[in-house]
């Protein structure tokens, strides 16, 4: 096929690459956001577990 490539193929490829590139940038942005959400959720999970644990401790010592 490479022998029969029509002229101006590069421009067509470039145009579609621009489209792909913008989509990929968007994926990167969303990936950063998803990572942040995951981190924050982990933090909150640790906090809520600590809270449950300390509550359980308090109940155990008061008995």
């Amino acid at each position: 096929m490479s022998n029969t490539l029509p002229p101006n193929t590069g421009y067509v490829a470039a145009a579609y690459l621009v489209f792909l590139f913008i989509l990929l940038i968007y994926i990167v942005i969303m990936a950063i956001r998803a990572a942040r959400v995951e981190r924050e959720l982990a933090e909150l999970l640790v906090q809520s577990q600590q809270r449950t644990a300390s509550k359980a401790d308090g109940e155990a010592s008061s008995q």
């Binding site: 101006n8 968007y26 924050e40």
Partner: protein
């Protein structure tokens, strides 16, 4: 009772799947089914990505204005978020349309920028106007006022788009032999099929991204609300000033 239904992400999965199928099929049609155009040769294939991007951009801006009107009438912040998202994503699609248009101009006419081409020039002007949307939002601190002023901007700019197209078209010499009308009306049948499926695919992509964006913003707002209720209001720093709408979590 807090709602557990997904507010913004409804039918997001369906849209995402449809986007994947339609856009892939459209690109396949564009490259393997649609014939090579006699006049412009292979470079005409840019048409199948550039024109849908441009049409969807304008659609996004118009919907931004419509949601702006709805916000002004109802004061419902969900319309503000929709207006914001439509304009924001429209701006990104606009960049895509401008760059692919510029590449097409280079391929077809040998120049990166063609002032005689009214659609391209109109697009640049519209782009310049919508570029001010984010700075405008960012420079207003009060969320309610930010939403209201942004909605006024969205309506004015939405009306501006057709006026601008008329003005630029009148000012162009109209000498360019365009084999392909940008409306797709004069296309041969096999090209038309590829074009319309590409248009549908890009439209679906736009809707999917908008829904994804809103669902993501909403879930981050919910996360912040959860953090506040777990850790307590006072330990949290005040939310940073932002151009994005503030989302109320019920």
């Amino acid at each position: 009772m807090p709602t557990t239904k997904s507010l913004y992400g409804r039918r997001l999965t369906g849209y995402a799947i449809a986007t994947g199928i339609v856009l892939t099929a459209a690109l396949a049609l564009a490259f393997f089914y649609a014939p090579i155009e006699a006049d412009q040769g292979f470079s005409q294939k840019i048409f199948y990505i550039h024109v849908p991007l441009a049409i969807v951009t304008l659609g996004g801006f118009v919907f931004g204005g419509i949601f702006g009107i709805q916000y002004l009438r109802s004061g419902d912040t969900r319309h503000d978020l929709r207006s914001y998202t439509a304009i924001h994503q429209g701006l990104i699609f606009c960049i895509g349309a401008l760059i692919t248009g510029s590449i097409w101009a280079k391929a077809a006419w040998g120049q990166w920028w063609v002032w005689d081409e009214p659609t391209l020039v109109s697009f640049l002007i519209v782009f310049l106007l919508y570029c001010t949307y984010q700075p405008l939002r960012f420079s207003i601190e009060d969320p309610e006022r930010q939403a209201r002023y942004a909605a006024v901007f969205a309506v004015v700019a939405g009306v501006f788009v057709p006026v601008n197209f008329i003005a630029v078209r009148l000012a162009s010499p109209l000498i360019h032999p365009r084999v392909l009308g940008s409306s797709g009306g004069s296309l041969p049948n096999d090209m038309r099929l590829a074009f319309y499926s590409a248009l549908l695919g890009i439209t679906l992509l736009f809707i999917t991204i908008c829904k994804y964006e809103m669902a993501s913003k909403h879930s981050r707002a919910q996360l912040a609300a959860l953090r506040r209720s777990l850790i307590g209001e006072h330990d949290e720093p005040a939310p940073a000033r932002s151009a994005a709408p503030r989302i109320a979590v019920k």
